[in-house]
Protein backbone atom coordinates (compact mmCIF):
# COMPACT_ATOMS: atom_id res chain seq x y z
CA UNK A 1 0.00 0.00 0.00
CA UNK A 2 1.42 3.34 -1.04
CA UNK A 3 0.39 5.23 2.10
CA UNK A 4 2.05 2.73 4.37
CA UNK A 5 5.47 2.91 2.73
CA UNK A 6 5.35 6.70 3.06
CA UNK A 7 5.36 6.13 6.82
CA UNK A 8 7.80 3.24 7.03
CA UNK A 9 10.37 4.30 4.43
CA UNK A 10 11.91 7.19 6.37
CA UNK A 11 12.27 5.08 9.51
CA UNK A 12 15.14 2.97 8.19
CA UNK A 13 15.59 3.09 4.45
CA UNK A 14 15.47 6.89 4.08
CA UNK A 15 16.23 7.91 7.64
CA UNK A 16 16.37 11.73 7.89
CA UNK A 17 19.35 11.78 10.25
CA UNK A 18 21.60 9.02 8.99
CA UNK A 19 20.95 9.33 5.26
CA UNK A 20 19.54 12.74 4.42
CA UNK A 21 21.85 14.68 6.86
CA UNK A 22 18.87 16.59 8.22
CA UNK A 23 18.25 17.76 11.76
CA UNK A 24 21.50 16.61 13.28
CA UNK A 25 21.93 19.74 15.36
CA UNK A 26 19.30 19.01 17.93
CA UNK A 27 19.61 15.25 17.53
CA UNK A 28 22.84 15.26 19.48
CA UNK A 29 22.42 17.94 22.09
CA UNK A 30 19.45 16.47 23.91
CA UNK A 31 20.52 12.83 24.02
CA UNK A 32 22.30 12.66 27.38
CA UNK A 33 19.19 10.98 28.83
CA UNK A 34 16.54 8.84 27.20
CA UNK A 35 13.67 10.89 28.63
CA UNK A 36 14.96 14.11 27.04
CA UNK A 37 15.52 12.32 23.73
CA UNK A 38 11.96 10.94 23.72
CA UNK A 39 10.45 14.33 24.60
CA UNK A 40 12.40 15.98 21.82
CA UNK A 41 11.38 13.24 19.35
CA UNK A 42 7.72 13.59 20.28
CA UNK A 43 7.82 17.39 19.99
CA UNK A 44 9.47 17.24 16.59
CA UNK A 45 7.08 14.58 15.29
CA UNK A 46 4.12 16.68 16.36
CA UNK A 47 5.54 19.78 14.66
CA UNK A 48 6.44 18.05 11.40
CA UNK A 49 3.04 16.30 11.12
CA UNK A 50 1.02 19.45 11.87
CA UNK A 51 3.19 21.68 9.70
CA UNK A 52 2.91 19.17 6.86
CA UNK A 53 -0.88 19.13 7.12
CA UNK A 54 -1.24 22.93 7.28
CA UNK A 55 1.20 23.67 4.47
CA UNK A 56 -0.27 20.96 2.29
CA UNK A 57 -3.75 22.44 2.78
CA UNK A 58 -2.70 25.93 1.70
CA UNK A 59 -0.23 24.83 -0.96
CA UNK A 60 -2.46 25.89 -3.86
CA UNK A 61 -2.72 29.44 -2.52
CA UNK A 62 0.97 29.89 -1.77
CA UNK A 63 2.98 32.02 -4.24
CA UNK A 64 6.38 30.42 -4.58
CA UNK A 65 8.25 33.68 -3.96
CA UNK A 66 7.11 33.92 -0.34
CA UNK A 67 6.66 30.23 0.42
CA UNK A 68 9.81 29.96 2.52
CA UNK A 69 8.81 32.82 4.82
CA UNK A 70 5.28 31.43 5.20
CA UNK A 71 6.61 27.97 6.03
CA UNK A 72 9.04 29.35 8.59
CA UNK A 73 6.30 31.38 10.26
CA UNK A 74 3.92 28.41 10.43
CA UNK A 75 6.62 26.17 11.87
CA UNK A 76 7.78 28.81 14.34
CA UNK A 77 4.23 29.37 15.59
CA UNK A 78 3.78 25.64 16.18
CA UNK A 79 7.09 25.53 18.01
CA UNK A 80 6.07 28.43 20.27
CA UNK A 81 2.88 26.53 21.20
CA UNK A 82 4.86 23.41 22.09
CA UNK A 83 7.46 25.40 24.01
CA UNK A 84 4.77 27.13 26.08
CA UNK A 85 3.02 23.79 26.65
CA UNK A 86 6.23 22.19 27.95
CA UNK A 87 6.91 25.17 30.18
CA UNK A 88 3.40 24.96 31.63
CA UNK A 89 3.17 21.22 32.25
CA UNK A 90 6.71 19.81 32.18
CA UNK A 91 8.73 22.69 33.58
CA UNK A 92 11.76 20.64 34.62
CA UNK A 93 12.03 19.02 31.20
CA UNK A 94 11.71 22.36 29.43
CA UNK A 95 14.56 23.71 31.56
CA UNK A 96 16.71 20.74 30.61
CA UNK A 97 15.98 21.10 26.87
CA UNK A 98 16.50 24.90 27.15
CA UNK A 99 16.85 26.50 23.74
CA UNK A 100 16.72 23.25 21.81
CA UNK A 101 12.93 23.12 21.70
CA UNK A 102 12.93 26.56 20.10
CA UNK A 103 15.54 25.35 17.66
CA UNK A 104 13.04 22.87 16.20
CA UNK A 105 11.97 25.95 14.23
CA UNK A 106 15.19 25.84 12.24
CA UNK A 107 15.45 22.08 12.28
CA UNK A 108 16.14 21.01 8.75
CA UNK A 109 13.89 17.95 9.06
CA UNK A 110 10.80 20.13 9.32
CA UNK A 111 11.62 22.58 6.56
CA UNK A 112 13.14 19.87 4.40
CA UNK A 113 9.99 17.76 4.50
CA UNK A 114 7.53 20.62 4.06
CA UNK A 115 9.60 22.00 1.20
CA UNK A 116 10.16 18.71 -0.61
CA UNK A 117 6.97 16.77 0.18
CA UNK A 118 4.09 18.76 1.70
CA UNK A 119 4.21 21.41 -1.03
CA UNK A 120 3.41 18.84 -3.73
CA UNK A 121 1.05 16.41 -2.00
CA UNK A 122 -2.39 16.19 -0.46
CA UNK A 123 -2.74 16.64 3.34
CA UNK A 124 -3.03 12.95 4.27
CA UNK A 125 0.12 11.74 2.50
CA UNK A 126 1.91 14.85 3.81
CA UNK A 127 0.95 13.91 7.36
CA UNK A 128 2.04 10.31 6.78
CA UNK A 129 5.39 11.52 5.44
CA UNK A 130 5.78 13.81 8.45
CA UNK A 131 4.94 10.98 10.82
CA UNK A 132 7.47 8.66 9.19
CA UNK A 133 10.25 11.24 9.27
CA UNK A 134 9.40 12.23 12.82
CA UNK A 135 9.54 8.60 13.90
CA UNK A 136 12.79 7.97 12.05
CA UNK A 137 14.31 10.98 13.79
CA UNK A 138 12.95 9.87 17.16
CA UNK A 139 14.35 6.38 16.64
CA UNK A 140 17.87 7.70 16.13
CA UNK A 141 17.51 9.99 19.15
CA UNK A 142 16.20 7.14 21.29
CA UNK A 143 19.06 4.82 20.32
CA UNK A 144 21.76 7.42 20.99
CA UNK A 145 19.96 8.59 24.16
CA UNK A 146 19.57 5.13 25.66
CA UNK A 147 23.22 4.19 25.02
CA UNK A 148 24.45 7.43 26.53
CA UNK A 149 22.20 7.19 29.58
CA UNK A 150 22.83 3.49 30.18
CA UNK A 151 26.61 3.69 30.02
CA UNK A 152 26.98 7.22 31.35
CA UNK A 153 24.78 6.91 34.43
CA UNK A 154 23.78 3.26 34.61
CA UNK A 155 20.09 4.12 34.36
CA UNK A 156 17.33 4.08 31.76
CA UNK A 157 14.51 6.64 32.08
CA UNK A 158 15.76 7.22 35.62
CA UNK A 159 15.54 3.56 36.74
CA UNK A 160 18.82 1.91 37.77
CA UNK A 161 19.78 -0.85 35.32
CA UNK A 162 23.49 -1.16 36.00
CA UNK A 163 24.07 -0.53 39.75
CA UNK A 164 26.85 2.08 39.97
CA UNK A 165 29.78 1.98 42.37
CA UNK A 166 28.45 5.06 44.15
CA UNK A 167 25.30 3.19 45.11
CA UNK A 168 27.16 0.08 46.22
CA UNK A 169 27.02 -1.75 42.89
CA UNK A 170 29.78 -2.79 40.51
CA UNK A 171 29.39 -0.47 37.49
CA UNK A 172 31.85 2.38 37.05
CA UNK A 173 30.02 5.02 34.94
CA UNK A 174 31.75 6.12 31.76
CA UNK A 175 31.73 9.88 32.13
CA UNK A 176 32.81 10.28 28.48
CA UNK A 177 29.28 9.22 27.52
CA UNK A 178 27.91 12.40 29.08
CA UNK A 179 30.25 14.66 27.08
CA UNK A 180 29.77 15.98 23.56
CA UNK A 181 32.27 13.76 21.68
CA UNK A 182 30.53 10.49 22.56
CA UNK A 183 27.40 11.59 20.69
CA UNK A 184 29.42 12.10 17.52
CA UNK A 185 31.15 8.72 17.89
CA UNK A 186 27.85 6.94 18.53
CA UNK A 187 26.15 8.55 15.56
CA UNK A 188 29.15 7.78 13.35
CA UNK A 189 29.01 4.17 14.48
CA UNK A 190 25.27 4.05 13.89
CA UNK A 191 25.70 5.36 10.34
CA UNK A 192 28.39 2.75 9.76
CA UNK A 193 26.19 -0.05 11.10
CA UNK A 194 23.15 0.94 9.02
CA UNK A 195 25.19 1.33 5.87
CA UNK A 196 26.96 -1.99 6.31
CA UNK A 197 23.55 -3.61 6.56
CA UNK A 198 21.89 -1.58 3.78
CA UNK A 199 24.69 -1.38 1.28
CA UNK A 200 22.75 0.74 -1.24
CA UNK A 201 23.13 3.74 1.11
CA UNK A 202 26.92 3.82 0.76
CA UNK A 203 28.19 7.08 -0.74
CA UNK A 204 30.41 6.76 -3.77
CA UNK A 205 33.87 8.05 -2.93
CA UNK A 206 35.20 11.09 -4.81
CA UNK A 207 38.50 9.34 -5.46
CA UNK A 208 39.39 5.67 -5.36
CA UNK A 209 42.53 3.62 -5.77
CA UNK A 210 43.29 2.77 -9.37
CA UNK A 211 43.33 -0.98 -10.01
CA UNK A 212 46.91 -2.23 -10.05
CA UNK A 213 47.95 -2.83 -13.61
CA UNK A 214 50.43 -5.60 -13.09
CA UNK A 215 48.09 -7.77 -11.06
CA UNK A 216 48.77 -11.47 -11.55
CA UNK A 217 52.10 -11.12 -13.35
Amino acid sequence: MAGWTTVTDPILRQNPVTLQILGICSALAVTTTLAAALTMGAALTLVVVTAGAIISMIRAHLPSSIRLIVQIIIVASLVIVIDQFLQAFFYEMSQRLSVFVSLIATNCVVLGRTESFALHNRPLPAMADGLGNGLGYSLVLAIVGSVRELFGQGTLLGYAILPTVEQGGWYEPLSLMLLAPSAFFLLGGLVWAIRSWRREQIETPEYSLAPTRDAGT
Binding site: T18, C25, L68, I72, I73, L103, R195, Y207
Partner: protein
Protein backbone atom coordinates in the same frame (compact mmCIF):
# COMPACT_ATOMS: atom_id res chain seq x y z
CA UNK B 1 37.82 44.99 28.69
CA UNK B 2 39.31 41.72 29.97
CA UNK B 3 35.75 40.53 30.53
CA UNK B 4 34.94 41.02 26.87
CA UNK B 5 38.17 39.33 25.73
CA UNK B 6 37.36 36.43 28.05
CA UNK B 7 33.85 36.20 26.63
CA UNK B 8 35.22 36.17 23.09
CA UNK B 9 37.60 33.31 23.87
CA UNK B 10 34.92 31.44 25.74
CA UNK B 11 32.36 31.70 22.95
CA UNK B 12 34.90 30.80 20.25
CA UNK B 13 36.68 27.89 21.96
CA UNK B 14 35.12 26.68 25.19
CA UNK B 15 31.53 26.84 23.98
CA UNK B 16 32.27 26.22 20.35
CA UNK B 17 28.95 26.13 18.47
CA UNK B 18 29.26 22.97 16.39
CA UNK B 19 31.70 20.99 18.51
CA UNK B 20 30.40 21.39 22.03
CA UNK B 21 26.87 22.76 21.64
CA UNK B 22 25.96 20.79 18.49
CA UNK B 23 24.57 23.85 16.72
CA UNK B 24 24.73 24.41 12.97
CA UNK B 25 25.78 20.84 12.28
CA UNK B 26 23.72 20.48 9.11
CA UNK B 27 25.74 23.01 7.15
CA UNK B 28 28.85 22.09 9.14
CA UNK B 29 28.77 18.57 7.71
CA UNK B 30 27.21 19.29 4.34
CA UNK B 31 29.52 22.13 3.24
CA UNK B 32 32.85 20.92 4.59
CA UNK B 33 33.95 18.82 1.65
CA UNK B 34 36.28 21.51 0.27
CA UNK B 35 38.27 24.17 2.14
CA UNK B 36 37.16 26.90 -0.32
CA UNK B 37 33.47 26.52 0.44
CA UNK B 38 34.24 26.14 4.13
CA UNK B 39 36.03 29.52 4.20
CA UNK B 40 33.05 31.13 2.44
CA UNK B 41 30.58 29.64 4.89
CA UNK B 42 32.74 30.64 7.86
CA UNK B 43 33.05 34.28 6.78
CA UNK B 44 29.32 34.49 6.10
CA UNK B 45 28.49 33.10 9.56
CA UNK B 46 30.84 35.58 11.29
CA UNK B 47 29.26 38.53 9.45
CA UNK B 48 25.66 37.46 10.00
CA UNK B 49 26.13 36.57 13.66
CA UNK B 50 28.02 39.79 14.34
CA UNK B 51 25.06 41.73 12.94
CA UNK B 52 22.04 39.76 14.15
CA UNK B 53 22.93 39.07 17.78
CA UNK B 54 23.26 42.77 18.76
CA UNK B 55 20.19 43.74 16.69
CA UNK B 56 18.15 41.00 18.35
CA UNK B 57 19.48 42.13 21.68
CA UNK B 58 18.18 45.67 21.14
CA UNK B 59 14.80 44.37 19.98
CA UNK B 60 14.52 41.98 22.90
CA UNK B 61 15.50 44.56 25.48
CA UNK B 62 13.29 47.39 24.25
CA UNK B 63 10.27 45.59 22.80
CA UNK B 64 9.93 42.01 23.99
CA UNK B 65 11.41 41.67 27.48
CA UNK B 66 9.04 41.67 30.48
CA UNK B 67 8.54 45.27 31.57
CA UNK B 68 9.81 46.80 28.34
CA UNK B 69 6.54 48.71 27.91
CA UNK B 70 6.53 50.25 31.39
CA UNK B 71 6.96 53.74 29.90
CA UNK B 72 3.68 53.29 27.99
CA UNK B 73 1.82 52.36 31.15
CA UNK B 74 1.88 48.60 30.55
CA UNK B 75 4.32 47.28 33.18
CA UNK B 76 2.85 43.74 33.16
CA UNK B 77 3.15 43.18 29.45
CA UNK B 78 5.47 40.25 28.69
CA UNK B 79 6.03 39.58 25.02
CA UNK B 80 9.03 37.31 25.47
CA UNK B 81 7.14 34.32 24.05
CA UNK B 82 7.30 36.08 20.69
CA UNK B 83 11.09 36.12 20.70
CA UNK B 84 11.41 33.05 18.47
CA UNK B 85 9.31 34.56 15.67
CA UNK B 86 11.02 37.94 16.02
CA UNK B 87 14.53 36.50 15.97
CA UNK B 88 13.82 34.39 12.91
CA UNK B 89 12.34 37.40 11.13
CA UNK B 90 15.31 39.60 12.00
CA UNK B 91 17.78 36.94 10.89
CA UNK B 92 16.02 36.42 7.56
CA UNK B 93 15.84 40.18 6.97
CA UNK B 94 19.49 40.70 7.98
CA UNK B 95 20.62 37.94 5.64
CA UNK B 96 18.70 39.55 2.80
CA UNK B 97 20.16 42.96 3.64
CA UNK B 98 23.75 41.72 3.86
CA UNK B 99 23.20 39.99 0.53
CA UNK B 100 21.97 43.19 -1.12
CA UNK B 101 24.75 45.37 0.35
CA UNK B 102 27.39 42.88 -0.75
CA UNK B 103 25.88 42.62 -4.20
CA UNK B 104 26.02 46.42 -4.58
CA UNK B 105 29.44 47.22 -3.10
CA UNK B 106 31.44 43.98 -3.12
CA UNK B 107 30.25 42.10 -6.20
CA UNK B 108 33.36 39.92 -6.42
CA UNK B 109 32.95 38.74 -2.85
CA UNK B 110 29.23 38.27 -3.41
CA UNK B 111 29.84 35.95 -6.32
CA UNK B 112 32.04 33.77 -4.14
CA UNK B 113 30.05 33.75 -0.91
CA UNK B 114 26.56 34.72 -2.06
CA UNK B 115 25.15 31.19 -2.19
CA UNK B 116 25.93 30.59 1.45
CA UNK B 117 24.20 33.71 2.67
CA UNK B 118 20.69 32.62 1.79
CA UNK B 119 21.31 29.29 3.52
CA UNK B 120 22.01 31.09 6.75
CA UNK B 121 18.42 32.27 7.22
CA UNK B 122 17.64 28.92 8.81
CA UNK B 123 20.92 28.15 10.49
CA UNK B 124 20.71 26.70 14.00
CA UNK B 125 23.93 28.32 15.22
CA UNK B 126 22.76 31.80 14.31
CA UNK B 127 19.32 31.44 15.86
CA UNK B 128 20.89 29.62 18.80
CA UNK B 129 23.27 32.54 19.34
CA UNK B 130 20.36 34.95 19.64
CA UNK B 131 18.41 32.63 21.95
CA UNK B 132 21.42 32.12 24.23
CA UNK B 133 21.93 35.89 24.28
CA UNK B 134 18.35 36.34 25.54
CA UNK B 135 18.64 33.50 28.06
CA UNK B 136 21.91 34.73 29.53
CA UNK B 137 20.93 38.43 29.60
CA UNK B 138 24.03 39.81 27.86
CA UNK B 139 24.26 43.58 27.42
CA UNK B 140 24.87 45.25 24.06
CA UNK B 141 28.69 45.10 24.09
CA UNK B 142 28.64 41.55 25.39
CA UNK B 143 26.18 40.36 22.78
CA UNK B 144 28.25 41.88 19.94
CA UNK B 145 31.37 40.14 21.24
CA UNK B 146 29.42 36.92 21.80
CA UNK B 147 28.07 36.99 18.25
CA UNK B 148 31.49 37.61 16.71
CA UNK B 149 33.15 35.03 18.97
CA UNK B 150 30.64 32.29 18.22
CA UNK B 151 30.89 33.03 14.51
CA UNK B 152 34.67 32.80 14.69
CA UNK B 153 34.44 29.51 16.54
CA UNK B 154 32.13 28.11 13.88
CA UNK B 155 34.38 29.32 11.06
CA UNK B 156 37.45 27.82 12.72
CA UNK B 157 35.79 24.45 13.23
CA UNK B 158 34.35 24.19 9.72
CA UNK B 159 37.67 25.15 8.07
CA UNK B 160 39.54 22.61 10.20
CA UNK B 161 37.07 19.86 9.38
CA UNK B 162 37.21 20.61 5.65
CA UNK B 163 41.01 20.47 5.70
CA UNK B 164 40.94 17.06 7.38
CA UNK B 165 38.26 15.72 5.03
CA UNK B 166 40.30 16.91 2.07
CA UNK B 167 43.18 14.72 3.21
CA UNK B 168 40.84 11.81 3.82
CA UNK B 169 39.55 11.91 0.27
CA UNK B 170 42.44 9.65 -0.67
CA UNK B 171 42.02 7.26 2.25
CA UNK B 172 40.73 3.77 1.61
CA UNK B 173 37.81 3.66 4.05
CA UNK B 174 35.36 0.83 4.67
CA UNK B 175 32.25 1.40 2.56
CA UNK B 176 29.88 2.11 5.42
CA UNK B 177 32.10 4.87 6.79
CA UNK B 178 32.46 6.69 3.47
CA UNK B 179 31.32 10.33 3.65
CA UNK B 180 28.97 11.00 6.55
CA UNK B 181 30.19 8.24 8.87
CA UNK B 182 33.82 9.31 8.92
CA UNK B 183 32.80 12.97 9.14
CA UNK B 184 30.98 12.23 12.39
CA UNK B 185 33.96 10.38 13.83
CA UNK B 186 36.39 13.19 12.90
CA UNK B 187 34.00 15.71 14.41
CA UNK B 188 33.94 13.62 17.58
CA UNK B 189 37.73 13.68 17.77
CA UNK B 190 37.81 17.45 17.17
CA UNK B 191 35.19 17.83 19.85
CA UNK B 192 37.36 15.79 22.22
CA UNK B 193 40.23 18.15 21.46
CA UNK B 194 38.09 21.23 22.01
CA UNK B 195 36.80 19.88 25.31
CA UNK B 196 40.28 20.47 26.77
CA UNK B 197 39.61 24.20 26.37
CA UNK B 198 37.05 23.79 29.16
CA UNK B 199 40.01 23.56 31.56
CA UNK B 200 41.33 26.99 30.52
CA UNK B 201 40.97 29.42 33.41
CA UNK B 202 39.34 32.63 32.16
CA UNK B 203 39.07 35.91 34.06
Amino acid sequence: MTDLAGLFIRSAFVENMPLTLFLGLCTFLALSRRPGTAVGLGVAVIVVMGVTVPVNHLLYQFVLAPGAWTWAGLPDLDLSYLRLLTFIGVIAAAVQLVEMVMDRYLPALFNTFGVFLSLLAVHCAILGGSLFMADRRYDLAESTVFGLGSGTGFALAVIMLSAIRRRLAYADLPGGLQGLGIAFIITGMMSLGFSTFAQVALP
